[in-house]
Amino acid sequence: MKKTFHGYTKKDKAVYGAQTVIAVLVTLIMIFPLYWMVVTSFKTGNVVLTKDIHLLPDSLSLENYIEAWNRVPLGRYIFNTVIVTIIVMTIKISGGVLAAYGFARGNFPGRNILFYLILGAMMVPHQVTFIPLYILCSRLGWVNTYMGLVLPSVVAPHFIFMLRQAFMSVDQSYIDAGKIDGLGTLGAIWYVMIPMCKASLITVSLTTFITEWNSYFWPKIITQTDAVRVLTVGLVHLRESWNGEALWLHTNVTMAGAVITMIPAVVLFFIFQKYMLTGYSKTAMK
């Protein structure tokens, strides 16, 4: 077989060309739904319900976004989502970092039993325990409150596991050196562990943010009024504020709401792509 300059045969080149073409096609199919969401959100009323294919929006006005904003208290939903996400991130990450340090470096009696207790919790999903969790919240008066919203998400066993792995890879001599310089336990975590395990922590924080921002199951159960409703549930609420044909007629408004709901997580994904991908592959290999 004839070899080209780079050592590839003609057949190799043909395979490469075909691979590129198929890859581009597949990518276009995967991105199309999101493209369609954005396009629909800019369409004006009469061109939404059509059997013809209009791949481009007929206007670029923000009319539908304004209508979505006015139809339901979207601003309130965003505020609630931000508050809930911040509370969850604060407790989950600080508690997770502390626990990971304790399990990675501690030598107290019962350490292994407690660690297995945390690991075991990974096998008990909220889809199994949501009814007693709801009853617990209702006893505490936490139904339809921020407290109720955050309760099931404030601890994440797999994060503790992942951070513990990262902390164990830090050499003990760094901590000893820090302690000689007068650092306490919290100081060692803050000045030694966190800077040295920055990548794992960023991954954990991002995943927490995105999971919380997108969570739907528990917020649907625990929220009842707009005062605490989060974006994901509010979006379905927005859609169902119309009935029958009117529901489909206002698809452009619902799609505007969907775009608003989607944007923060998608933007974060593009900014921090590197961390998301490495984070996943690392956890996958363990």
Partner: protein, 304 residues
């Protein structure tokens, strides 16, 4: 010297206590959010608890009797079957389509990197946005999917509202959402396979497909198992996509187990019965996890 050692001992003791205090918040939170609800679930299953009433009585095994004597009548078998069918489809998408995507996208150029990111992206779109988007795309009268189908001479299909296609629609949504993740997991495992293996095989005259079946596939077996187990467990717990897309319908054809528990608890207010179904479901998940862990110990190739 003696004072020194006792000082050291004190320091060690203090640091042990501090490390215990470090793990304490997480342990307490896990107790409250996981183990206490699990224990409550068992207790509730022995009561006649109705969410609409203030008090309840212990009724022994009545709910368990209800469950085992009418498992067919109370839709448990049907919904378990539906859940397993969804799970099978979802696992197939992750394992097979994910692998095909990984093989297709396995080129380390900037352009391919960007395409991989785009395929991975849907995972970060929340299920409520994605769900109402797919309701629109799959709409019978005006959806773009049917517009394209019609353009090519096909019929306008009732995607989410017909018994036969509703589950396919759900799988399209969740498959779109998650197949990029499977691809990324495969790709990161593939980069770990030394290229010398492939080069040596190629020198010996092995074809592309031979190299795939003799080298890549066996070395990926831990990854395949990882994806199999995680996709299986997470698919069994599906709720969001179903709730938004089909609401369990039409005629219960997409009613999965978590949806059944939700309905028993929050529509019929029979938390006592919901507790029984939750526990049976939990036992099933636990059994699957433990069995696969046992089985994987000697079946998977970790030689890497």
């Amino acid at each position: 010297m003696k004072t020194n050692t006792s000082g050291q001992k004190k320091r060690i003791k203090r640091s042990t206590l501090e490390e215990f205090l470090c793990v304490l918040p997480a342990v307490l939170l896990v107790m409250v959010t996981t183990y206490y609800p699990l224990a409550e679930l068992i207790r509730i299953s022995f009561t006649d608890w109705n969410l609409l009433r203030k008090d309840y009585n212990y009724v022994g095994l009545k709910n368990w009797q209800w469950f085992f004597e009418n498992a067919a009548g109370n839709n448990f078998y049907r919904d378990m079957g539906t859940t397993l069918m969804y799970t099978a489809g979802s696992v197939l998408i992750s394992l097979v389509l994910g692998m095909l995507l990984a093989l297709l996208m396995n080129r380390m150029t900037k352009g391919f990197g960007a395409m991989r990111a785009i395929i991975f992206l849907p995972r970060y779109v929340g299920m409520s946005s994605a769900g109402i988007l797919f309701l629109w795309i799959l709409n019978k009268d005006y959806g773009i999917a049917n517009n394209f189908l019609e353009l090519m001479g096909g019929p306008r299909l009732a995607w989410v509202t017909s018994k036969g296609l509703a589950m396919i629609s759900v799988l399209m949504l969740t498959g779109w959402n998650s197949v990029g993740y499977a691809m990324m997991i495969y790709l990161s495992a593939m980069t770990g396979i030394p290229s010398s293996y492939h080069e040596a095989a190629a020198l010996d005259g092995a074809t592309r497909s031979q190299r795939f079946f003799q080298i890549t596939l066996p070395l990926l077996s831990p990854t395949i198992l990882f994806l199999l187990v995680t996709t299986f467990i997470s698919s069994m717990k599906v709720f969001n996509a179903i709730d938004i897309l089909t609401g369990g319908g039409p005629y219960g054809s997409t009613e999965v187990i978590v949806y059944l528990i939700y309905q028993l608890g929050f529509v019929d207010y029979r938390v006592d019965r919901a507790a029984v179904v939750s526990l049976v479901f939990f036992a099933f998940l636990l059994a699957v996890t433990i069995l696969t862990m046992r089985w994987s110990e000697n079946k998977v190739n970790y030689d890497m």
